[in-house]
């Protein structure tokens, strides 16, 4: 079992719902300070978005963040270099599209991520079927490969994905790309489908915008992922302190 999963299972055993915020690396110069602030605010793990020119699974907010990051010259290497300069108090999870790793070299990517403390990777366009080679290198470097499931996932795939995912299973709350949304979507049903086949921690993401939504999602699941809503505040100029407050408000909601 990967280190990430050990940590996250521990969390669950402690009865703590996981709070996992997403940051686009390089979208602002002080992005690592936002990561730290989130940890102070109560995040249990952090997704580090590595920008890609064609983010097929992302809505406008994260697209915009990626664009800014790319314009600022962000690359996988600059990100890793920045991450290497400090140690974070919670696991980091890289999130990006497959082409970034493919181009950097699969083995080299996994190694470099591990070097700078990354313990998991989410590659939304890498299907289970295409993931074998990537998983092999991740295994070598103790990187958990995290898979998504969606409301459209079939029972047979729920079983295979839940079995394959490591660290946690990323349950899409709705049929949508990342972005802000209302309501709880299909989260409960999706989580239940995962649980029917596996005891891997299952976190809900996609469209969780408010603390209320997060509270509700956490009720049915083991944790929540906050992406666009957070990234938007940062794009709009939020300070690390504001990020800390932001995270704290979600923390409070899911801990209720």
């Amino acid at each position: 079992m990967k280190s990430l999963e050990v940590t996250l299972r521990d969390l669950r055993e402690q009865g703590r719902k996981a709070l996992v915020p997403y940051f686009m690396a390089g979208a602002t110069p002080d992005w690592t300070r936002h990561v730290e602030a989130a940890l102070v605010g109560g995040a249990d793990a952090v997704e580090i978005g590595i920008p890609f020119s064609d983010p097929m699974m992302d809505g406008v907010v994260i697209q915009e963040a990626a664009l800014r990051a790319l314009e600022a010259g962000t690359t996988l290497e600059t990100i890793c270099a920045q991450l290497s300069q400090q140690r974070f108090s919670a696991p980091l999870i890289a999130m990006t599209y497959y082409n970034i790793f493919l181009h950097f070299g699969l083995e080299r990517s996994a190694g470099r991520l591990a070097e700078c403390g990354v313990q998991g990777a989410i590659v939304p366009d890498l299907t289970l079927e295409e993931s074998e080679e990537w998983r092999r290198y991740c295994d070598l470097h103790d990187i958990a490969t995290i898979f998504l499931v969606a409301p459209s996932t079939t029972p047979e795939r729920f079983a295979r994905l839940a079995a394959a995912t490591q660290g946690f299973c990323y349950a899409s709350a709705r049929m949508a790309v990342t972005g802000k949304a209302q309501g709880g979507g299909d989260a409960a049903r999706v989580v239940e489908a995962v649980r029917a086949t596996s005891d891997v921690p299952t976190y809900v993401g996609i469209g969780i915008t408010t603390p209320d939504q997060a509270r509700e999602a956490a009720l049915d699941s083991d944790g929540v992922i906050i992406g666009s809503a957070l990234v938007q505040t940062i794009l709009e100029g939020a300070s690390p302190e504001q990020t800390e407050q932001f995270i704290r408000s979600f923390r409070r909601a899911i801990d209720e």
Binding site: F52, S53, D54, P55, M56, M57, D58, G59, V60, Q63, L67, L70, T75, L76, Y97, Y98, N99, I100, L102, H103, F104, P124, D125, L126, T127, E129, E130, F147, L148, V149, A150, P151, S152, T153, T154, R157, L161, S172, M175, A176, V177
Partner: protein, 394 residues
């Protein structure tokens, strides 16, 4: 040329052509891709479906398109050129072959809506056309820049009853329209089919679109036989995503004919690209050193795509087909040459293939060779643009 391997059959079960192809999509779309694969395999082996596809293309689409011997061009360049006239198909290009297949399949799958991406608007207009015919709802995603450059095509789609959504992300052109269509597909995959416009995207699209386009090559092969020309020495087609090329190559992949795909020099995924993953497929892509996809640049909107269909990447890797690049200047010259010598104004895309033939006649193409040129579309859509450019010069 002796061959041991058979080309252009079905891909591997996971949708690979050698190292290329596959499926690289959000999990949310996987069931739709799998459903589509099953539906396509089922339909394509159902004689009734195949018959309907053929008869719609015959009665509505204008097939078979003829083969025209280009007598004056041939005399001029010393090579015997036969043109497969996809410019005469309904809506003005080969795009109709694919959309007829996909819309019939949409209906068969019980879906009542299609979405599509489009660059200059050719595939969008074709999809809107096929959707109108079957009474399917249709929404077309088109880069905002392209909606401005091709306002008339936007109006055409609207006339045909489709909704056109300008895409404001990224470079606001074709590549982003594909991203956006994929994103939208995630939200409506239940009742909506994504009618992809070329031999690209996740499995089964590259294979399915090639199959729907292979009618070009099969017709051409039969027509050339009937004329006593037999197997041509070369088969030449322009390549954007690669659907017209795949369609015509399919008729000759297992013959002695040399296959040549002509890319826009500013978007030559095979010549200047490297392997990568985009839009659901692994293929040759134009990208920077960090794996960021670059914008293609071509005078012809239809070739303005940084990738190429995965089967072409495979054919290139195998050496079965060859891919070359042609620059904008030569394309303009070729468009004028064909117009004046043959009374056919080709699409700028198709003019790339003409330009390469003219350039290589007597060089890479030995004198006296027979060449099958796939004339993928008509130039009517391009004359305003060509006029501006030529005016700017004089």
């Amino acid at each position: 040329m002796s061959q041991h391997r058979l080309y252009m059959g079905a891909p591997s079960p996971s949708g690979h052509f050698g190292d290329f192809g596959g499926r690289f999509v959000p999990e949310a779309l996987m069931p739709a891709c799998l459903e589509l694969e099953v539906a396509f395999v089922d339909a394509w082996s159902d004689p009734e479906f195949v018959q309907e596809y053929r008869s719609v293309l015959h009665d509505f689409g204008g097939r078979p398109t003829p083969i025209t011997y280009l007598a004056r061009l041939s005399e001029r360049i010393g090579v015997e050129v036969f043109a497969k006239r996809e410019d005469l198909a309904h809506t003005g290009s080969h795009k109709i072959n694919n959309v007829i297949g996909q819309t019939l399949l949409t209906r068969r799958m019980g879906k009542h809506r299609v979405i599509a991406e489009t660059g200059a608007g050719q595939h969008g207009v074709a999809t809107a056309t096929a959707a109108a015919r079957l009474g399917l709802e249709c929404t077309v995603y088109m880069g905002e820049l392209d909606t401005q450059r091709q306002a008339l095509n936007v109006f055409r789609m609207e006339l045909l009853g489709s909704k056109v959504v300008p895409v404001t992300s990224g470079s606001r052109t074709l590549k982003d329209a594909v991203n956006e269509a994929m994103r939208e597909w995630v939200t409506c995959v239940e009742d909506t089919h994504y009618c992809l416009g070329s031999v690209m995207g996740p499995h089964p699209f590259p294979w399915m679109v090639r199959e729907f386009q292979s009618i070009i090559g099969h017709e051409a092969s039969e027509q050339l036989s009937e004329r006593g020309v037999g197997v041509p020495d070369l088969v030449v087609a322009c390549v954007g995503g690669g659907s017209n090329a795949a369609g015509v190559f399919a008729g000759f992949a297992n013959t002695s004919a040399r296959l040549v795909g002509v890319e826009a020099a500013g978007g030559a995924a095979v010549s200047n690209g490297s392997p990568g993953v985009l839009h659901g497929m692994k293929s040759m892509l134009i990208q920077d050193e960090h794996g960021q996809i670059e914008e293609a640049h071509s005078i012809s909107a239809g070739l303005d795509y940084p990738g190429i269909g995965p089967e072409h990447s495979y054919l290139a890797a195998e050496g079965r087909a060859q891919y070359v690049g042609i620059g904008d200047e030569d394309v303009l010259d070729a468009l004028q040459l064909l117009s004046q010598l043959e009374g056919i104004i080709p699409a700028l895309e198709s003019a790339h293939a003409v330009a390469w033939i003219v350039q290589e006649a007597g060089r890479d193409i030995p004198r006296g060779s027979t060449v099958l040129l796939n004339l993928s579309g008509r130039g009517d859509k391009d004359v305003a643009q060509v006029r501006e450019i030529l005016r700017g010069r004089s």
